[in-house]
C-alpha cells in the first residue's frame, strides 16, 4: 500500500521475495525486501503474509519473524497446507503483501537469564531474539534426522545452540524440556515456542519448578488485528485474542481451549 500517513503505510506493505532457501524437505527460509524500513520488531511478533494475486487462498498466513534488517525481513515457513505450499513455491522476485509486525512479543527480562525452548519451526522468534540479545540460551527440539537441515542452519546463527532429537539421531536424545530441571526460579526465565503439546508440557514443568515462563501460541486467524475474533484462547482472565493480546502469554494465564 502507498498510504498517506505513517500508520497504514507501516501496517500493510508490498514486499519482494529476494531469496528462498530450502533447509530440508518442505521447510524454507524466505527473505523479503521492502521499500520502506520496518519498525523495531520484538521477538515473538508476527506478520501476515499473502500473495498479491487472486483470492484463493483468500487469507494471509501468520508467521513469527525470524530475522530483520532495516528494510529486510526473514520468515521460516514450513509447508503445512495449501496456503503455505503456494507461498513456498513462489519464485524469487515475486511480490507479496505483508501485514505487520503484529501482536506482542516476549517481554524483556532485565537481570534474568533467558532460556528459549523451541519445537522445530518454533525456533523462529529465538533467531530474532538472539540477533538482538546475544546472551540468551536457545534449546531446539526436533523429531530426528529429517529436521537436521533446520538444526544445522540454526546452529550457524546461534553459536552454542543445544539441539535435542526425540530419536537421538541429532544432538542430545530427548527434548528441550530436560533443561528446565536445571533452572533457578529466582534468576531464570523460560520463553517457549512450538507445537501446542510441547507448550503444555513446558507450562506444566515450569509451574512445578516455579520458573517464570512465557509461551507463544499459534492459532488460526483471519485478520491478525483483532477484528475477526477467530483466534481466541481461554485464559484465567477470560477469552483473549491470540493476535492482539498475544501471541505471547504468561504461561500461568493460559487455560487452552480443550
Amino acid at each position: 500500500m502507498c498510504g498517506n500517513g505513517p500508520w497504514d503505510s507501516l501496517l500493510e506493505r508490498e514486499v519482494t521475495l529476494t531469496k528462498k532457501k530450502e533447509l530440508t524437505k518442505n521447510l524454507f527460509v524466505l527473505s523479503f525486501e521492502s521499500q520502506d524500513p520496518f519498525p523495531g520488531i520484538q521477538p515473538g511478533q508476527f506478520v501476515m503474509l499473502r500473495t498479491s494475486l487472486g483470492m484463493d487462498p483468500l487469507l494471509g498466513r501468520p508467521f513469527a519473524v525470524c530475522g530483520t534488517g532495516e528494510s529486510r525481513l526473514e520468515l521460516l515457513v514450513a509447508v503445512a497446507g495449501r496456503g503455505t505450499r503456494i507461498l513456498c513455491s513462489l519464485p524469487e522476485r515475486e511480490r507479496l503483501v505483508l501485514r505487520g509486525p503484529l501482536g506482542n512479543g516476549f517481554p524483556p527480562q532485565p537481570g534474568k537469564r533467558v532460556y528459549c525452548l523451541a519445537g522445530t519451526t518454533g525456533i523462529a522468534p529465538f533467531l530474532l531474539a538472539r540477533q538482538q540479545t546475544p546472551k540468551i540460551h536457545v534449546h531446539l527440539g526436533i523429531p530426528g534426522r529429517g529436521w537436521g537441515g533446520l538444526a544445522t542452519w540454526a546452529a550457524e546463527r546461534i553459536p552454542g545452540l543445544c539441539v535435542y532429537s526425540e530419536d537421538s539421531s541429532v544432538g542430545i536424545g530427548g527434548t528441550p524440556l530436560a533443561c528446565i530441571d536445571q533452572l533457578e526460579p529466582l534468576n531464570d526465565v523460560v520463553w517457549a515456542c512450538g507445537p501446542t503439546g510441547m507448550l503444555k508440557a513446558v507450562q506444566t514443568a515450569c509451574e512445578r519448578r516455579k520458573i517464570p515462563c512465557w509461551i507463544s501460541l499459534e492459532t488460526r486467524m483471519a485478520c491478525g488485528i483483532g477484528g475477526c475474533h477467530g483466534c481466541v484462547v481461554r485464559t484465567v482472565a477470560g477469552l483473549r485474542k491470540t493476535c492482539t493480546d498475544g501471541p505471547v502469554f504468561d504461561s500461568r494465564e493460559v487455560l487452552w481451549n480443550d
Binding site: M1, G3, N4, G5, W7, D8, S9, L11, E12, R50, M55, D56, P57, L58, L59, G60, G83, V97, R99, R220, M221, A222, C223, I225, G226, G227, C228, H229, G230, C231, V232, G238, L239, T244, N257
Partner: protein, 308 residues
C-alpha cells in the same frame, strides 16, 4: 461531455455517508486507530460487532475455516455485552472520524428492548442502528427471526418502538421468500435493508471424521458468495421502496458497481478486508474513476440502473 466534479457521498434514507463503502458488522476491531486516518478515507461508515444484553463468549472449538475464495466462521456473536461496549468501546471508536452503525443481535423481545433502551441514551453517537435478524428466536424453537415474514416484522416492530433513530434490518440470505420478508420488514418500519448475511455452510474433517465446527454449521462469506448476494439484492430492491445495502463477497470496484446497478444504495465489505486492508481505498478510487469515465456526478447515479 462536460467534466463535472464527482462526489462519493450517498444518502441511505436520509443518513448521509461520505462513501457507499461500509465496513460490515463483526469484522472490525473496536480500537481507536482503526476508526480514523488514511485507512478509513473511503469508508462511509463502520458497523460494530453485534451487541447482546449480556456478554457472550461465543462458540468453542475451531472458529475459522478457509474455503475456495471464502471463509467459514463460527464466532458465535462473541461480544462484551451492551454495557461494557458503552463504557469501554464507544468512547474509543467515537474518537475517530468514521460514522458508527451500532449492530444489535436480535435476542428475545425483552432482551432486545433492554439493549435498545440502553443504546438510546447515546443515540446521537450513532449514524444508524443495524438489527441483525439472522439470530435464532429461542422462544420460537430456534428459528431465525428473519426466516419468516411474520417473525421478521415482529422483530423490527419491537425495535422500531424502542429506537427512534435510523433503523437498518440485516436479513439472513436463506429464508423461504426473501422478498416477502423484505416487504414485511419495510412495513414494520425499517429505514433500510442490509442484504444479506453469511450463508450457512459446513466443513468436515476427514482425519477426525467429524464436523470441523462445534455447532456443525458455520457462516460462509468472502468472494465465493458474491453472485448469490447480488441476486438477492436484485430481488429485494425490486420488492421494496426503502434503500438496500448489498453485503456478501464484495472484493473489488466492479462488485460495488454491480451491486449498485442491481439496486443497492451502498455496500458492506467484511471478509475481504481481513486479507486486504487497502481494499477500501482501492475500491473507492476505482469507483470514482468509473463514475468520472461514465460522466456521472455521484454513485447514486448507478443505483438500479441495471434494471432500466
Amino acid at each position: 461531455m462536460i467534466d463535472r466534479p464527482v462526489s462519493s457521498s450517498i444518502s441511505i434514507g436520509g443518513v448521509l455517508l461520505r462513501s457507499p463503502l461500509i465496513i460490515a458488522s463483526g469484522t472490525w476491531p473496536h480500537e481507536p486507530e482503526y476508526w480514523k486516518g488514511p485507512i478509513c478515507s473511503f469508508v462511509g461508515a463502520a458497523c460494530t460487532k453485534a451487541l447482546t444484553l449480556r456478554p457472550r463468549e461465543g462458540n468453542p472449538g475451531i472458529r475459522l475455516w478457509e474455503t475456495p475464495c471464502g471463509l467459514l466462521n463460527s464466532i458465535g456473536l462473541q461480544n462484551p455485552g451492551v454495557d461494557s461496549f458503552l463504557r469501554d468501546d464507544l468512547p474509543k471508536i467515537s474518537s475517530g472520524d468514521v460514522g458508527i452503525v451500532v449492530n444489535v443481535a436480535m435476542e428475545s423481545e425483552e432482551e432486545t428492548a433492554e439493549v435498545l433502551a440502553r443504546l438510546s441514551v447515546f443515540e446521537d453517537r450513532f449514524l444508524s442502528m443495524e438489527l441483525n435478524i439472522s439470530c435464532p428466536n429461542v422462544d420460537a424453537g430456534g428459528m431465525a427471526w428473519g426466516s419468516d415474514p411474520v417473525l421478521a416484522a415482529r422483530a423490527v416492530d419491537l425495535a422500531r418502538q424502542c429506537w427512534r433513530g435510523p433503523l437498518w434490518a440485516k436479513l439472513p440470505p436463506q429464508c423461504g421468500n426473501i422478498a416477502e420478508v423484505a416487504r414485511a420488514v419495510e412495513e414494520a418500519g425499517a429505514d433500510a435493508l442490509v442484504v444479506a448475511n453469511t450463508w450457512l455452510g459446513m466443513a468436515m474433517d476427514p482425519v477426525s471424521e467429524k464436523p470441523v465446527f462445534s455447532r456443525n454449521v458455520a457462516g460462509l462469506s468472502g468472494p465465493a458468495i458474491f453472485p448469490l448476494a447480488l441476486r438477492l439484492v436484485w430481488e429485494v430492491s425490486s420488492s421494496v421502496h426503502i434503500p438496500v445495502i448489498g453485503c456478501g463477497g464484495i472484493s473489488k470496484t466492479e462488485d460495488v458497481i454491480s451491486m449498485m446497478l442491481a439496486g443497492a444504495s451502498a455496500v458492506a465489505i467484511g471478509t475481504f478486508h481481513f486479507s486486504d486492508l487497502g481494499c477500501f481505498r482501492n475500491i473507492g478510487r476505482g469507483l470514482l474513476e468509473h463514475l468520472a469515465a461514465k460522466g456521472y456526478s455521484s454513485p447514486m447515479d448507478l443505483i438500479g440502473k441495471g434494471k432500466k
